[in-house]
Amino acid sequence: MRAFDLYVAKDSRDAVMLLAKHSATSKVKVIAGGTDLLADLKFSAHSPNVVVDISRADELKSITVTDGGLRIGALVTHSQIMKSPVIQQMFPALVDAAHTIGAVQTRNLGTLGGNLVTAVPSMDSGPTLMALEAIASIQGPGGRREVPLTDFFLGPRKTILKADEILAEIIIPKQNLGKPTHFLKFGLRKGQALALVNVGASFWVDAKKNTFVAPRIGLGAVAPKVIHAPQAEAYLEGREITPEAMAEAGRIAATDAKPISDFRASAGYRKNLVAVLTKRALEGAYALAQAKR
C-alpha cells in the first residue's frame, strides 16, 4: 500500500471539516470499516494522499425508530443489522441482505454506509433499501440534506456525495415501516459471494381484495447502479396476488434489467436470474405478509 496521511475524525462534523480542509489540495478518501477501501488500495498504484478515518464517529452507529421512520447510522455494521431486534422484527429482508455480505469478519468491519457509498452495482444492501424507498441523509459542512436513494447513485462507484460530504444515515420512511419485504441473492458460491443478481421486493397486501399495494422491486448487479423495476412495479400495482402474476412480474422485471455480460455471467443468464429471483422474492414477501396477519 502507498503512503498516505491519516486524520481521525472525532465525529461526523469533524469528518466533514477534515474533508473540506484537505479535499481542496489532496486526493482524499474516507475510511470507515475499511473492507472496500483497503482491499482496493493494497494492489493499486493510485492512492489517496489523505485518508480520513470516520470509524470513531459514534453518533453514526445507532439504529433508532423515530417519527420520521427507521434511522440506521451509516457506521452501523452488517453484523449489527443482523443482530438488531428492531430490524429483525420489521425487516428480516435487511437481516438476510446483511448476512449475504462477505463473511463474518467483513460483516463485523463493513458498514451499511460503506456498502452504499462504494456504489458497486452488486451491493447487497441496495435492492432492499431501494424497495423500501430509503432516503440517504447526507452530512455536509452546512448541515444535513436528504436525498432518496434512487437519486443517490450515479453509476458504478459514483454517488452524488460531494468531496466534503459523508453519508450519515439511512432512513426508511415511516409509511414503509413493517412493509413485507424479501431479499434474494444469487452468487457463484454460498460463502463470500458477490451477487450475480440480487433482488429486494416489497409490497403491502390489500387484505380484502388480495391485491398488491405499492409494490416496489429493487434490482442489483443488472445495471450500472442499483435500480427499480418500474414496469414490473406498474404491472403489479392493484393486481390480484397470484403465482402467475408474480411469475409474470419476474419476466417483466427481466426486461427492466439492463445487465452486462462479464466473466461471471452472461447478460442473458442474468436476465433469467432476475425473473426467477423476482418471482421468488415476491413469493417470500407474500409469505411474510401472510405470517404477519
Binding site: 502507498r2 443482523m82 443482530k83 438476510d96 448476512h99 454460498k190
Partner: protein, 485 residues
C-alpha cells in the same frame, strides 16, 4: 524531540506494576501442560489415529512458516511481471529504480548465470530476457529495505516491449501454420502413445459405438501460504535458501544449475509448507533471491502476493479429451480410442509427467483388450501448467467416467453394473501391460454403493441426484432466519 526520554530515564519513570506487565509478561504463552494424546503412546504404532507431530503447534500459531522468519538487515524483494502474454523485450531500463533511496539491488535476466531450468525440458527462464512467453513472466527484480519501496521501485523499471500476437488456444497451437510459441520448434512438445490389441477389430466386434468430447479448465492450487523464499550468502561463499519448496533435494540441483555453482555451496531449508498440491514442486524465485542477496550482501526475502500466486506459479493443465468406445449390448467394452490434448502453457514444467499419467490412466480402471490412447501437450502463451494433485488424472477421470455413464444410459444399464462388469481384477493387465496387484476397484464400488444406498430407491438404476426443481435453496443463519441465496 528534546523531551524524548532516554532508555534509562524511561525505566526510572515507569511504575513497577507497568514494568511487570509490559516487560515480564510473556508475549506468547507456552503452555506447560504437555499431555500426550493416547494414540501417540500406543503400540503397535501403525493403524493408530495418532495426532500429528505438528498439530499442537499449528493450533497455537507457533508453526514457523517462511514469512515468519526474519534476519537482521533483511531486505524485501519484489519481481516485476511482464503483463503481456507474448513479446520481444527491446530494452530494460532499471536506472531509475536503482537510484531510489532504499533500493539495494536490482537484477534482470542478464544477471542470471544460466537462465534456464525445468524438471524435464530446460525451457523456463529464471527471469525473462529478450522474449516474454506469458504475462506472469518475471522480467526484473528489486531488493529494498521495505516491501513498499520494492513495490514502488518496480513501477520505475521501464521495459520496452514489441508486443506479439499470443497463441492462446491449444487447438490453434496444434496446427502447423501457427507460429511456434518457442520458435522454431513445433508447438507440440511432447507426445505419448499406448497401443494394446487391435482397436479396429474391437470396434467391429461391438454392438454400439459411443463417442464424446470433454474439456477441463485451468485451475490454481491455492495453497493458503503463498510462495516464499529467503536467501542469504555467507562468507564461505555458500548460500542458504529458506524456501516453501516441496522437494528440496531436486530444487537444490536446479538452483545450482541456474547460479552455476556447485551443489555443495547451496543449503536449502524448508519449513512446514503451508500447502503444496503440486504447486511448490519446482523452483521459482530462489535463484533470483540468491542473486539479489549476493548483489546486496544482505538476506533477502520475498513472499508472493495472491495475484503473483495466480499468474506466476504453475496451474493445472486444461485438457481436450476425445473418447470413442465400442461396447457389446451386455456392456462389455471391446475397444476404446482416446486422444488427449494438453494445454501446456508457456513452459514444459511437469508436463511430461502429466502427459504420461493422463495417457496411461485415460482408459480408466477397466479391462480393455483393444486400446489406442495418444496424448500431446502443446505450448500456449498462457500461465505455465505443471504438477497439480493428480497429474492429469482428475481430468481424464472426468472424461472416462462421464463417458461410462453415457454408455450405461445408452444400454439402459445401471452405472454400477457396467463398472463391475469391466473393472480390473487382481492380476488384470493394465493398458501398459503391467500385472496389477492389490486391486480393489470392485470392492470400492460395492462399498461406496452400499454406504450411499445406491439401490435404495428401488429402481435399481440411477440415483445420486435429486432434482430440487423450483424450490428455494435455503441456509439457516445465526438468528434462525432463512437466507435464500
Amino acid at each position: 524531540m528534546d523531551k524524548k526520554p532516554t532508555v534509562a530515564e524511561k525505566t526510572v519513570v515507569q511504575e513497577p506494576s507497568i514494568l511487570h506487565e509490559s516487560v515480564i509478561a510473556p508475549l506468547v504463552s507456552y503452555p506447560i501442560e504437555v499431555v500426550v494424546p493416547k494414540a501417540r503412546q500406543q503400540t503397535p504404532a501403525v493403524g493408530q489415529r495418532a495426532t500429528r507431530l505438528d498439530g499442537r503447534l499449528h493450533g497455537l500459531g507457533q508453526t514457523g512458516y517462511i514469512d515468519d522468519i526474519t534476519f537482521p538487515g533483511m531486505l524485501y524483494a519484489k519481481i516485476k511481471r511482464a503483463g503481456v502474454a507474448s513479446a520481444r523485450i527491446r530494452s530494460i531500463d532499471t536506472s531509475e529504480a536503482e537510484a531510489m533511496p532504499g533500493v539495494m539491488a536490482v537484477v534482470t535476466g542478464k544477471d542470471v548465470p544460466c537462465n534456464s531450468f525445468g524438471p524435464s525440458l530446460k525451457d523456463q527462464p529464471v527471469l525473462a530476457y529478450e522474449r516474454v512467453f506469458h504475462a506472469g513472466d518475471g522480467v526484473a527484480a528489486v531488493a529494498a529495505v521495505t516491501e513498499q519501496i520494492a513495490a514502488e521501485a518496480l513501477e520505475k523499471i521501464k521495459i520496452d516491449y514489441e508486443v506479439l500476437t499470443p497463441v492462446l488456444d491449444p487447438l490453434e497451437s496444434l496446427k502447423l501454420e501457427t507460429p511456434g510459441v518457442h520458435a522454431p520448434s513445433a508447438n507440440i512438445y511432447q507426445s505419448k502413445v499406448i497401443k494394446k490389441g487391435d482397436i479396429e477389430k474391437g470396434f467391429a466386434a461391438s454392438d454400439h459405438i459411443v463417442e464424446g468430447t470433454f474439456r477441463t479448465q485451468m485451475v490454481e492450487h491455492v495453497p493458503l501460504e503463498p510462495h516464499a523464499t529467503i536467501a542469504m550468502w555467507d562468507a564461505n561463499g555458500r548460500v542458504t535458501i529458506h524456501s516453501t519448496l516441496g522437494r528440496i533435494t531436486l530444487g537444490r540441483a536446479d538452483v545450482a544449475r541456474t547460479l552455476a555453482i556447485p551443489i555443495s555451496r547451496i543449503r536449502i531449508v524448508a519449513t512446514i509448507v503451508g500447502g503444496n498440491f503440486g504447486g511448490k514442486n519446482e523452483i521459482t524465485t530462489e535463484p533470483v533471491l540468491a542473486l539479489l542477496s549476493k548483489k546486496s550482501g544482505r538476506p533477502v526475502k520475498s513472499v508472493f502476493t495472491r495475484p503473483d500466486e495466480f499468474i506466476a506459479s504453475t496451474t493445472r493443465h486444461p485438457l481436450i479429451m476425445d473418447y470413442k468406445t465400442g461396447v457389446t449390448k451386455d456392456g462389455r467394452i471391446q475397444a476404446r480410442k482416446i486422444r488427449l490434448i494438453l494445454d501446456g502453457g508457456a513452459y514444459c514444467s511437469w508436463s511430461e509427467t502429466t502427459l504420461g499419467k493422463a495417457c496411461i490412466l485415460s482408459a480408466g480402471p477397466y479391462n480393455i483388450d483393444n486400446l489406442y490412447a495418444e496424448a500431446h501437450v502443446v505450448y500456449t502463451n498462457k500461465t505455465m501448467t505443471g504438477a497439480m494433485r493428480g497429474f492429469g488424472a482428475p481430468q481424464v477421470c472426468f472424461a472416462y467416467e462421464s463417458h461410462m455413464d453415457d454408455i450405461a444410459h445408452l444400454l439402459k444399464m445401471d452405472p454400477l453394473d457396467i463398472r463391475l462388469i469391466n473393472a480390473f481384477n487382481e492380476g488384470s493387465l493394465s493398458p501398459t501391460g503391467q500385472t496389477l496387484q492389490s486391486v480393489v476397484v470392485k470392492e470400492s464400488l460395492l462399498r461406496a454403493a452400499e454406504r450411499f444406498g445406491w439401490h435404495s430407491n428401488g429402481k435399481g438404476s440411477t440415483n445420486g441426484g435429486t432434482n430440487g426443481g423450483a424450490k428455494l435453496l435455503e441456509k439457516e443463519n445465526v438468528n434462525g432466519n432463512t437466507v435464500r441465496v
